[in-house]
C-alpha cells in the first residue's frame, strides 16, 4: 500500500544556504532561502533513514498531528450529503470536491474537514456485483482491509491514495490523494461495521430512516426525477431490505448517536410524510460528548412550545426529552415532532435546549438559518444535524486540548 505523510521543512537559522531533501524515489525538494518553512507531501518510504542535506535544515512530519475521525452510517438516498454539509459548515468554509481531480470524486474538502464516501471502498464494481449476485450492502462487495488501513493512516497523519467509485459508470476509477485533515468524516453504508475501523472512530452517528419515510422519500425522488414506477421502487426497496437488515442496520448498536426519522404523531393517519418526528438518541458515557437536554437533565419531559409566546400553524411542534435504554445502552433521547414556521421559533427552542456546545447564544439558530435552503431545515433533521455538528466541534476541541496537555513531540528527523 502506498501512503504519504505531510512534512514541514524548515531552515533552522536565517542562513542563506539552501535546504535540500531527497526521498527514496526520485523526489528532491529545495527549501530556498529566504523561505524559512514550507509543507510537502512525501511518499512514506522516504521516512526510512533518509536525511536532509545542506546546512541548518529541519523536517517535522505530522505523524503525531492526530486526525479526529467521525463515522456516519446510513442507507443511500437518506440525506447523508446534506448532513455532511451541515456538519462541515460548523467548522467554517464550504466543503467542496477536490479541485482539478476526477469530477466523479465523492470526496468533499474544507479547511479543517475531509469527507470521504465509503462507496470508494467497493471491492466489486457494478458489473462485478451483478456477476456475483451481491448487493453493495453486502460486506463481500466492500474492501474493509483497505478501508481500515487508509483510515488508520489518515488518523495517524499519513496521506493515502484512496480509490474512487464512479457512481455514474459504476466502475472503480484511479485513486485520488487524500491528505490527513483535522477532522475526517467517513460516511456510507458501513463505517461502523468492521470492528477495526470502528475502533478508529472518535465518534459515530447512525442515521436511521424508518421504512415509511424512506419509502416516501425514494418514491418522491425516483418517480419525479427518474421516472420509475411505484412498483419498481417497491421491488428495489424489497431487494435491498434483507442485506440492509443484516449488514447496515445492526451498526446502530455501536453508534454514539442515532438520528431516527419517523412519521409524525401530530397528524392522525398521516400518509404524506411531509411532517416528521425526529429522535436524537444520545449514548451516555461517551468521552467529550455531553448529551443535549431540555429544561431538566435526566427527567422526562414533553414540551409544546406553541402557546402564548409563540403561535405555530397546524400541526404545531412537540418536543420530548428523557432517559431511555437503546440496544442495552443507557441513552438520552431528544425528540422533535412537527416543523418550524419561522425564525423566532428556532431561537425560542434554542434558548431552552441545554448542553448545545454553542460558542455564543443563538449560534445553533444562526447555523440553521445559514443553510435555510437545505432539505430538513424546518424540522428535527436539520436541527439535530446542526446540533451534532456543534457537539463534534466541541469533541474535536477537547481532543486537541487533551493533546496539548500531554504533548507528543513532532518527529524531528534532522
Amino acid at each position: 500500500m502506498t501512503t504519504f505523510t505531510l512534512c514541514t521543512l524548515s531552515s533552522s537559522s536565517s542562513s542563506h544556504l539552501p535546504c535540500c531533501i531527497s526521498n527514496s524515489t526520485t523526489e528532491e525538494v529545495h527549501l530556498g532561502s529566504p523561505l524559512l518553512q514550507r509543507q510537502f507531501i512525501f511518499n512514506t518510504n522516504w521516512r526510512k533513514g533518509r536525511r536532509g542535506r545542506g546546512v541548518s535544515c529541519g523536517i517535522s512530519c505530522s505523524a503525531e498531528a492526530k486526525t479526529v475521525v467521525i463515522g456516519l452510517a446510513a442507507d443511500s438516498g437518506c440525506g447523508k450529503s446534506t448532513f455532511m454539509r451541515r456538519l462541515t459548515s460548523v467548522f467554517g468554509g464550504a466543503a467542496e470536491p477536490p479541485r482539478g481531480g476526477n469530477p466523479e470524486s465523492n470526496t468533499l474538502l474544507s479547511d479543517t474537514t475531509t469527507v470521504i464516501c465509503l462507496d470508494d471502498y467497493h471491492l466489486l464494481d457494478r458489473e462485478g456485483r451483478k456477476e456475483k449476485g451481491v448487493t453493495a450492502l453486502d460486506p463481500r462487495a466492500n474492501n474493509f482491509d483497505l478501508m481500515y488501513e487508509q483510515v488508520k493512516a489518515l488518523k495517524a497523519g499519513v496521506a493515502v491514495e484512496k480509490p474512487i467509485y464512479n457512481h455514474v459508470t459504476g466502475l472503480l476509477d484511479p485513486p485520488e490523494l487524500i491528505l490527513p485533515p483535522k477532522i475526517l468524516f467517513i460516511e456510507g453504508l458501513h463505517p461502523i461495521f468492521d470492528s477495526r475501523v470502528r475502533d478508529l472512530l472518535d465518534f459515530s452517528i447512525y442515521l436511521d430512516i424508518s421504512d415509511e419515510v424512506k419509502f416516501a422519500w425514494k418514491t418522491k425522488r425516483d418517480m419525479a426525477e427518474r421516472g420509475h414506477s411505484l412498483h419498481s421502487i417497491k421491488a428495489s426497496i424489497e431487494a435491498r431490505k434483507l442485506d440492509f437488515d443484516a449488514y447496515v442496520d445492526p451498526q446502530k448498536q455501536y453508534a454514539d448517536v442515532v438520528i431516527e426519522v419517523l412519521p409524525t404523531q401530530l397528524i392522525p393517519d398521516d400518509n404524506e410524510r411531509k411532517v416528521l418526528r425526529v429522535r436524537l438518541v444520545m449514548k451516555e458515557g461517551v468521552k467529550y460528548f455531553n448529551p443535549v437536554y431540555l429544561f431538566d437533565e435526566g427527567s422526562t419531559l414533553s414540551w409544546i412550545p406553541c402557546g402564548r409566546k409563540l403561535s405555530c400553524s397546524y400541526p404545531g411542534i412537540k418536543f420530548f426529552y428523557g432517559p431511555d435504554t437503546y440496544v442495552a445502552h443507557e441513552v438520552s433521547v431528544l425528540e422533535m415532532d412537527g416543523q418550524f414556521d419561522r425564525l423566532d421559533e428556532l431561537m425560542y427552542v434554542e434558548s431552552h435546549l441545554n448542553n448545545l456546545s454553542t460558542k455564543y447564544y443563538g449560534e445553533a439558530t444562526e447555523q440553521m438559518l445559514k443553510h435555510g435552503d437545505f432539505p430538513g431545515s424546518n424540522n428535527g433533521t436539520g436541527l439535530f444535524q446542526t446540533i451534532i455538528g456543534l457537539k463534534i466541534r466541541e469533541l474535536y476541541e477537547c481532543i486537541v486540548a487533551e493533546k496539548s496537555v500531554t504533548p507528543l513531540e513532532a518527529a524531528r528527523v534532522f
Copy 2:
C-alpha cells in the same frame, strides 16, 4: 345591625391629664396617663358626632385600614379546614378558635388572619331546614344579606357580631364578636354565590373535588368513623347532588383559582383513590396574581421528575403545565399526578416551579414540611394549597403597598 369599629385613643401631649371618651351607649373610656395610646372597640353609633373630652386627646379609627378578603368555596368534608390551616400558616402563628368564647365557634384566629365559616350565616337551623325541606346548600337556607353586610363591614375595618351555627346541636347560637383582621378568609359552601359578597372578595378559590374522590373520602370517613353503611353514604351524596350542582358548583366560574382533585391517571383502573391527580387552574389577568408556571411560561409541558436525579416509587409523579380555557376564561393549569416519597423530591420540584412568590429559596418546601402530618402533604393538594398561601401573602402585600402609595388618612375625630 350592630357593628363595631376599632379605634386608637392617644394623648397628643405628655400631659398628665386623663383622656376620656364616651359613646352613644354607656361606654366611657379613660386613657389615663402616662399611657399615651390604647386600642378600644366602639359601637359604631359612637362615631356620630361624639367627641373626646379632656385635654389633648386624639382618636383615630381603623375604618380605612382595609381588610383583604379571600373566599374559599367547597363542599363540606373536603378538607377546607386543612386548606385553611395551610393558608394561615404562611402568615405565621397558628390559627386557633377564639379564647373564652363558644367552644362550638367555627372561627379561627391568628395574628394576621381570621377565618370565618359561612355555615354561621345559615338562616335556618337544622330543624328549620327539615321543616321547609331545604338543604344547607340551598340559598334559601342562608342569610346572604347579613353575610354581605358583615363582610362589607369587616372589609371596611368595622367589627361585627357574627352568628354562630352550632354544628353539634344544629342550632344558631348567640353571636361572637369578630374584629377586622388584616386578612379575612370566608370559607364555606357559598362565598362566591351572592354577587354582592363576590364583589367584596380580593381573591377567590374554588376547591373542586371530583365525584369519584369525594365518594372515596366520604366513604372512608363515614364508614370508618361514623359507622354509616355504603348504601346510606351513596343516598346522602345523591340527595345533596341536585342542590350542589345548582348552587355550589356554578361558583367555580367566578373563582380566581380552582383546585381540582381527580383520580390518578398513573394507575390503570385505580379504585383506591389514594393516589390523586390535582390540578391548579389559575385565571389570567387577576390583579396581583401571577400564575405559577413550570419551566417555560405559556407553553405546554409534561414533566416526570423521576429519573436519573430522582428515584420515585410506583406509580411515580407526573407534572403538567399549560395554557387552557376554563368556563370561557383564559387560564394556566399546573397539574400534579402521584405523590412524593421524600423531602428531596419536593425541593427538586420547587426548584423548577416559577412565580411561586416565596421570599427565599426552599420556602414552599419548608412550609410543606412544617405541616407534614396534614392530610395531602405528599400530593398536589398540599403542594397547591401551600402555593396558594404564598400567592395570597404576595397579593396582600401588594394591596398594602398600593395603599401606602396612595395613603388614605385615618379618620381623626379630635
